[in-house]
Symmetry: D2
């Protein structure tokens, strides 16, 4: 089995992220996943600013969440973002949030990003820097 | 083809919802979809407060977004939320955001909610009020 | 007493805006106030897009909130935004949120905006269009 | 001059916090200030959970922001939250955000919190635990 590229960040639930059912409002996981993508990006040189510096945006075109167990205020959890290799001009990630102490899986998900140039034109082929990035890391 | 239950709400993009790429940050669609669910709920008597009054929560357990075209500040769009019937103790919705003028589809998605009682116990069978609701509307 | 320019918008508290104390998280009032400013702007031709079209940004430099009574999910309230005339190159607003039914004052506040040109340079004198706007409306 | 109690936290601006003017939307500072209050609370035993364990809520009743210089994506800044002693049954804080490298002051502010018991009744006198806390730390 090939080794996957991944990064793990800690999630500390804030008071304002918890709703009247005393658990994190499901919509807040969008921000957790983006924090995870950016942490992965900083680790592997694939963060928004680096990509922008190369002349591209990487908008999210698909994202999905599966909520198994909720998180309450003060909960500490770990989000692992794993890069899923593919041939297309896309960036695929899988996400897993686990309780820091028990390791119980709380939430999973996946996302797809594509490349757009500075004129918001979709890139149908991987930009040169991304091909280089894949050669370097995969 | 059976007639589907649906409700349509207008989305008016706010300044703060738009990011530095001048389009709505993808994470904000979680709120649009929830606004749509609540509008559907008010139309058909299946909103959070009514369900809570019956003794249940309806947490989202799955949600997915497919972003085709972005929305910028001031854009007016229509979100249609359609109920998808199923046999299980779940509430399924499909979402479609279209430009108010052109009708172009901008974003689609789907969600799944389950029933939990006030003690946060999952209901494996449809609560009585939900069976009545289905009889009434489907 | 001179007649003040003002606009009133309805606030309908969303589920996600309410915290674990079952009232609107105080931070969400920033968005309510901005919604109010933009509604005032659309009524009097002083909204962000119009101002931007004239070549300016109007960043908020001061804002203050006084919370008297909280709002819970489903509460309907009215926010009135009133323009406070001044000689300087500033836009001053006073805010008041009242319960739609009882008229009880729930929250008050104020804000100050200044003018910056497209190069983010502060305008120390009122832009021409703002002087014209004042002549027209005050 | 008496030594003031304070805590400093790092702010790392996220992509989603930045608006179409490429600076942090002013409304997001509500969350920064709350993060600062909670960090102060964890340092001195005056965080939301500890206070709640004593039987109280500490809702914000006043908060004000003065924005001098904006922050853009990727900016690193330091927020210092300083406790301002007072005789009343209130918790007063002053805030200062400075650039991590230059020390330039970017934003300042202040807030006032009061004590409410679990029945949402305002405490006009300092709760016993707060008097003890003041004796311990001031």
């Amino acid at each position: 089995m090939e080794k996957r590229l991944s990064e793990t960040v800690e999630i500390e639930v804030r008071f304002s992220e918890v709703d009247s059912m005393k658990v994190v409002w499901h919509g807040n996981y969008m921000q957790y996943f983006e924090d995870g993508r950016e942490a992965f990006g900083r680790k592997y040189g694939l963060d928004y600013l680096t990509i922008y510096g190369q002349g591209y945006f990487v908008p999210v075109v698909d994202i999905a969440f599966h909520y198994r167990k909720p998180m309450e205020y003060g909960r500490k959890a770990l989000l692992t973002v794993t890069y899923r290799p593919c041939e297309a001009a896309k960036i695929l990630f899988d996400y897993e949030i686990k309780d820091s102490e028990t390791g119980e899986v709380l939430t999973t998900g996946s996302s797809v990003q594509v490349f757009m140039d500075r004129n918001y034109q979709l890139e149908v082929s991987s930009p040169a820097f991304y091909k280089e990035w894949k050669k370097r890391w995969l």
